[in-house]
Every structure is written in C-alpha cells, then in structure tokens.
C-alpha cells in the first residue's frame, strides 16, 4: 500500500529528473552554435512499480541520461556528398584560374593583346600582306614581329600553366599532414568511444569523431565502416585502409616525375586519390589531367605552326637569293624536336627579315609564290588535321565546355550538400524555440512536482497533528 512517505520519494525523484532534463536543455542551448554538436534529448524512464498485496503502485520517474539525435546513414551520406562537392569545387577553382589565360577577345583593338587566336591570324595575315610586295622591308619586319607576338604569347601561356601546376602541387603536398592529424585524432576517439560506451551512442565523443570525419571528407574521398563496440574503420574511396579502430596509417608524400605523389606504406595511391573526391581529388585532377591536357593542346599548336612555317620558309628563296641548306636552314621559329615542350620553347630565331623566303625555290627575289604558300597555310589543315584557327577555336570551346561542365556539376553537388545539410540540421541541430518550449515544459513539471511536494507536506502535517493544527505547521 502506498504511503505519504512513498509519495514524497516519488516527488523528490521527479524533481531530480526534471533538474537533469533542464540540464540537458541548458547544454543544448549552450552548444547551439558549436560546430558538429548534435542535439540531445533527455531519456525518461518509468520506475519499476511496487506490487504490494497484489496492488501495483507506481514509483515515479528517473532521468537516465540523454541521447544524441543522430542519423548515421544521413551523416555518412552527407560526408560522401561533401567529398564530391569539395572535389569539384577545388577543380573549379583551378580551372577558373586556368581559363583566365584564354579570355575571349572581344574584337576591340585593346583586347587583342595576348590573344593567341588573334596572334595566329596576324601571323598568316602578315604573309598575305607580303604577297602584295614581297621585297618590302616593313612588311617583312611585320612578319617577324607577328611571329614574335605569337611565340611570346604561347610560351607565356605555357609558362603560366606550369607555374599554376607547381602552385597546385604545393597545395596538395600540404594536405597529407592534415589528413594524418585527422586520422590520428579519429583513431584516438575510436579508442575512447570503445572504452567508454561500446554499446550506445557516445554523445560528445561521437560528435567530435563525426566532426573530424566531416573535415576529412573535405580533404579526401573516404569510406566509413562501422566495426564492433562502436568502432570505426576508414578507407580511401578505392579501399586503402587509413585507420582501423585505434590505429591510423600515415599518408606520406614523395616527388615522382617532378610532382608530389601520395603513398600509403609503399603503395603509390595518387591516381586513386585523384578520382576519390575531396579537395585533394579535385586538385590532383586539375594538376594531372586538366593542366597537362591544355598544355598538350598548346604544345601541339606550337609544334605544328613552328615546323610547318619553318618547312615552308625553308622551301623558298630569301631576299638575298639564298635558299636554305641543311647547315643553315631558313627557320623563322626555333625548330622543335618533339611535341612536348614546344609551347614553352616557342620563340623566333630569325633576326634578319631578309631571310624570310617570300620567293619560290629558284625564283627571282621579287617572286611571291612562297609568301602565298605560307599565307595559304592559314587555311591548310596543318594542326592535327585542322586549320590553325579551327584548332584554336576547338581548343577554347573544349576548355570552356570543361569549365562550364564542372561549374554545373559543382552547383548541383553544392545544392545536394545543402539539402542533406538541411535534413541533418533538421534532425540534429539545436532549435532554440524547441529548447524554449522544452524548458518551459520541464520548468512547469518541476513547479508541479514542487507544488505536489508542498501539498504532501501539508497533508503530512495534518497526519502528524492528528487533527490538532498547531503542533506541526
């Protein structure tokens, strides 16, 4: 049978429980803006009832702690999406810098400076002008200056590409140490979580681990595998183990072919990291695919124009009546030996404009047939089966499409990250209105319990006084 004493006990338990619940609310409000904090809700448990003489008597409530409101699947999904978004984001940054080298020429005279497309046209136009007056020194000089302009702009672009690549390489090299410190931290947290709470959510520790995983996801592509006792193993997207429970495996870097490569143990995992995601993935893609691709196209352009123009000039007669020989070829550009490096090495070696062979082989110096042939190269398919201008036009279209494609992809990925973030925040974020409402509820509950306690006290006094109201108040 329940007694007034038992009712006192139930009420004091309720007061304790309400205080603990208020503590949880206070903690939520305090951490409302803490990155990675997961909202906690108080756990209530009805106390085991007493059964006396076949009558079940309730024993009140206990507050048994709190639960972090977390959806592991959602969090892991968010991490994955962040890896992809970070990858396309860092690639986009690199590509934006890259495409700035090839800003479209608006057509006004001031904008043509540095535009390779205009330079190509001007070079062949200068040969066309020479047709009109093949012996004119000014026209010959303008051929050399157009050639110098093209060579300068192409080699400058190639040099800028190389320095962009070197800058990206430096950025990537720094990522390894960040990854290593994060994997070590996660391994330590793994150990603490496995020791402290092997079976249930580890709350704050879990928040920290998730925060570290989220940061790691910004850097590289990872897979998460839950192991026993709330442990966690992390691999790269392609399956190389980065950490398992309490042990982390350090990423190391080394120079291979002039760029930084990444090793796990003795295995070179650079290519896998490039496709894996994270900002490192995007940077490696830009460093190892995008920039070399653009550089190769420029090399091809420089190689084809240099060799074709040299060959055609060498086939004609210079103003002094001389023809090119094996020992002294009539070369306008430095003759490249291989496609690779042609853009960077493109330069004008001819210094005497009289060496331009406007006249055909064996013709008088007033002949213009070779100048006509050189001007006609503008419409000949001398660069990879395309005319030089078509080749450059396709090159800018391809580059622009790549950048535009990555932009679209990045926008979509960012939108999906925002969506997942919103879902995750909706579940795990601290909503101050919610907390205000909960606080009011618990406060009211606490007040009610106090009130009941006070009433009980009066009832108890009545019982002790046995009707005499003055003995105990």
């Amino acid at each position: 049978m329940g007694t007034i004493n038992a009712a006192f006990s139930v009420m004091s338990g309720a007061l304790d429980a309400d205080q603990q619940a208020l503590n949880v609310v206070a903690n939520n409000v305090a951490n409302a803006n803490t990155p990675g904090y997961t909202r906690e809700t108080p756990d209530w448990q009805e106390n085991q009832p007493l059964s006396i003489g076949g009558v079940s008597i309730g024993q009140g409530v206990s507050e048994t702690g709190s639960t972090s409101e977390r959806d592991r699947v959602l969090e892991s999904r968010l991490d994955q999406q962040q890896q992809l978004a970070a990858s396309s984001g860092s690639r986009l940054t690199a590509l934006d810098t890259l495409q700035a080298l090839f800003t479209p020429d608006s057509g006004s005279t001031s904008s043509t400076a540095g535009d390779i497309g205009s330079d190509i046209t001007k070079l062949f136009d200068s040969f066309a002008s020479l047709e009109a007056n093949p012996t004119n020194n000014a026209l010959r000089q303008s051929v050399l200056s157009s050639a110098g302009m093209l060579a300068g702009d192409v080699s400058n672009a190639a040099a800028s590409l190389n320095s962009q690549r070197a800058a990206l390489d430096q950025e990537t090299a720094g990522v390894a140490s960040q990854v290593n410190s994060l994997t070590s931290a996660i391994a330590q947290l793994n150990q603490q979580i496995q020791t402290n709470s092997p079976s249930v959510d580890a709350g704050t520790l879990e928040d920290q681990r998730q925060q570290d995983l989220s940061q790691l996801s910004q850097l590289i592509g990872i897979n998460q595998i839950t192991t026993e006792n709330n442990g966690l193993a992390v691999t790269t997207t392609s399956g190389q183990l980065l950490l398992s429970q309490g042990t982390s495996y350090q990423l190391s870097t080394g120079m291979v072919n002039g760029v930084t490569d990444f090793f796990l143990g003795n295995t070179d995992i650079t290519a896998q990291l490039a496709t894996g995601g994270g900002s490192l993935g995007g940077e490696l893609t830009a460093r190892d695919q995008d920039i070399p691709g653009v550089l190769h196209s420029l090399d091809q352009l420089a190689y084809s124009i240099s060799t074709s123009v040299n060959q055609q000039n060498n086939a004609g007669t210079a103003l002094d009546g001389q023809m090119g020989t094996a020992a002294n070829p009539l070369y306008i550009f430095s003759q490249p030996t291989a496609v690779a490096g042609s853009a960077l090495g493109m330069s004008v070696v001819m210094t005497d404009p009289n060496q331009i062979a406007a006249a055909g082989a064996g013709s008088g110096t007033g002949d213009n047939s070779n100048a006509t042939a050189m001007a006609a190269m503008a419409n000949r398919e001398i660069v990879s089966g395309q005319t030089p201008s078509n080749y450059y036009s396709n090159f800018v279209t391809t580059l622009g499409s790549t950048v535009s494609g990555v932009q679209t992809e990045n926008t979509a990925l960012n939108a999906s990250v925002t969506q997942l973030q919103t879902q995750n925040n909706a579940l795990s974020g601290v909503n101050l209105n919610d907390e205000a409402s909960l606080m009011t509820t618990f406060e009211r509950s606490y007040q009610a319990a106090s009130q009941v306690f006070a009433m009980m006290n009066t009832i108890m006094a009545s019982a002790l006084n046995l009707g005499d109201q003055t003995t105990v108040s």
Partner: protein, 304 residues
C-alpha cells in the same frame, strides 16, 4: 516535422549568389562584353575565334589590295605612255617611208626614234617602291638594256618569266604583273624593241630601203597592238581587285555585325537582370533582418 534551425545560413548563401550575379552583370555592363570567360559560353568563344580570324583576314586583304592597286596603276600608266610613244614612232616612220624626205630629215627621224627608244626603255624599266615592275621576279635588277655593238642594236631582257598573284580570302588569284619580255619582246613580229632598233638602223644613214622600212614599221604597229593587249591583263587585274575588295568589305561588315552581336553585352537585358538581382538582394536582406530580430525568438516571449 522539424525544420533546419539554421535556415538563415541558407538565406545568406542565397544572398551571396545574388551578389555574385550582380557582380557578373556589372562587369558585363562596364566592359560591354557579354562573354568574359570561356565557360560563360564555350561555343560562342569558339565561334568568336573563327569570326575574328575571318574579319582580320578580310581586313588584311583590303589593305594588301590598296597596296597592289598602286603598283598596277603605275604599270598601267607606264604602258599608256609606251602606247603614246609608239604611236608617235609609227607616225614618224610612216612619214619617212613615203620617199619625200631628204637624207638629213631621214637621219633626224632616226634620231627621234632613238629618243623614243630611250623613253620606252625607261618606261619598261619603271620601278615602284624600288622594285622594277616589268622584270618578272628579278625585281631588283634593271630589266632592259640596249647594246649598240651590232647594227641594228639589240635590247636585251635580264628579268624572268615570273608572275605574281594575290590570293583573296576566298581563294581568288589575281595577277599582279606581266613579265617585261612578254610586253616588249613579244613572240614573232611583236617585239617593240626589235622593231624600234630596226627602224633606227633603217633611217640612220639617211638612205631608206623602203621595203625594209615599211616591213619594220608594220612590225612596230603589230608590236603596239600587242602591248595594248598586255595592258588589258593589267586593267583586268585592277577591275578584279576592286570587285574582290568590295566583296570582301561586304563580307567583313556582315562578319563584324555577327561578331558584335555575339560578344557585345545586350545593355537593356543586362540592366534589367541587374535590377532584378538588386531587388532580390534587398528582399533577402529584409527577410534575414526580420528573421534575426529577437522578437521572433520564443525565448524572448518567456517571462523573466
């Protein structure tokens, strides 16, 4: 259903986007160019390269054609003078051939024709900007010189047969010169210098072999006709050049319009877009300010 308590952060993201869009639109307005980077319009950027290439080719051809027009005009006027000189020589020879002149007058005709020969030689050696225009490809050497070692004297050509062409952007080849030997030492009985030298020899002694002189005079007449025919080639080139130049200028105008349409920012559209973006920005700022005000928070409504 729970909502994201940090929705204001998302709104700030939208605000950033609105501002980025304003920045882009302002840069289009200030530069007047609609394609500021390749990714904005990759196909347009590629087309732009080709359009500019054609426009510049056309421009270059227009400049070249005005250069060669000068040369062709000089050639034409030189040949015009040659025709005048030869007509005069024929009239002198015809006078000498009718048998009414005394030997001293005949010798004087010989001297006058020799003067004409000098004049024609000088015209055949016409140069334009330091280059001999009737020398074929050997434009740096004087093409015609007369040797008086024999009688009649011989005028020799030291140029070659080379013909230059100017190619228009659409591939039309326009002839720029006629080699001097073709004009002045034409095949068979069409040699200007042969006929002039022969006539000088015919009249030099004062005694006229009428048969020979008439034959040589006829030869000069036929040579004159031949020069006129060669002059037609030069005139044709000038006509072709004018036509080609006009056609190219027309194409260039069209291409420039196309290129301008492609690259130039459409100011009214951009201004409208900018105004919309600004409105959006203001609206977002108002919403954020409203949501951030303390009165919207439940805590602010609690007593105490």
């Amino acid at each position: 259903m729970r909502v994201d308590p940090f929705y204001v952060t998302n709104l700030v993201g939208s605000l950033d986007q609105a501002q980025a869009s304003e920045q882009q639109l302002s840069s289009e307005l200030s530069s007047g160019v609609s394609i500021n980077s390749l990714s904005q319009n990759p196909v347009g950027a590629g087309q732009n390269v080709l359009l500019l290439n054609q426009i510049q080719q056309d421009d270059s051809f227009t400049q070249s054609s005005s250069l060669v027009t000068g040369q062709l005009q000089v050639a034409d006027s030189a040949l015009g003078s040659v025709v005048t000189q030869l007509t005069q020589a024929i009239s002198l020879a015809t006078g000498a051939n009718n048998g009414t002149m005394n030997p001293s007058n005949v010798t004087s005709v010989s001297n006058q024709i020799a003067g004409i020969l000098d004049e024609v030689t000088s015209l055949a050696n016409t140069s334009y900007q330091g280059q001999y225009i009737f020398a074929g490809g050997q434009t740096s050497n004087v093409p015609f010189a007369t040797s008086t070692a024999t009688t009649p004297a011989v005028t020799k050509y030291s140029g070659d047969e080379d013909v230059n062409y100017l190619e228009s952007p659409n591939g039309q080849r326009i002839q720029l010169n006629v080699p001097g030997n073709q004009i002045f030492l034409g095949t068979g009985s069409n040699s200007v210098f042969g006929a002039l030298n022969a006539l000088i020899a015919d009249y030099s002694t004062g005694m006229v072999d009428t048969t020979q002189a008439v034959s040589d005079t006829n030869e000069l007449t036929s040579a004159l006709n031949y020069v006129s025919q060669q002059r037609v080639t030069i005139d044709n080139s000038m006509t072709q050049l004018t036509a080609a130049s006009e056609a190219v200028t027309n194409v260039q105008t069209q291409l420039t319009t196309a290129q301008t349409d492609l690259m130039q920012a459409d100011i009214p559209t951009v201004a409208t877009q900018l105004s919309l973006a600004e409105t959006q920005q203001t609206a977002l700022e108002d919403v954020i300010a409203q949501l951030n005000s303390t009165s919207s928070d439940l805590f602010s409504k609690l007593p105490g």
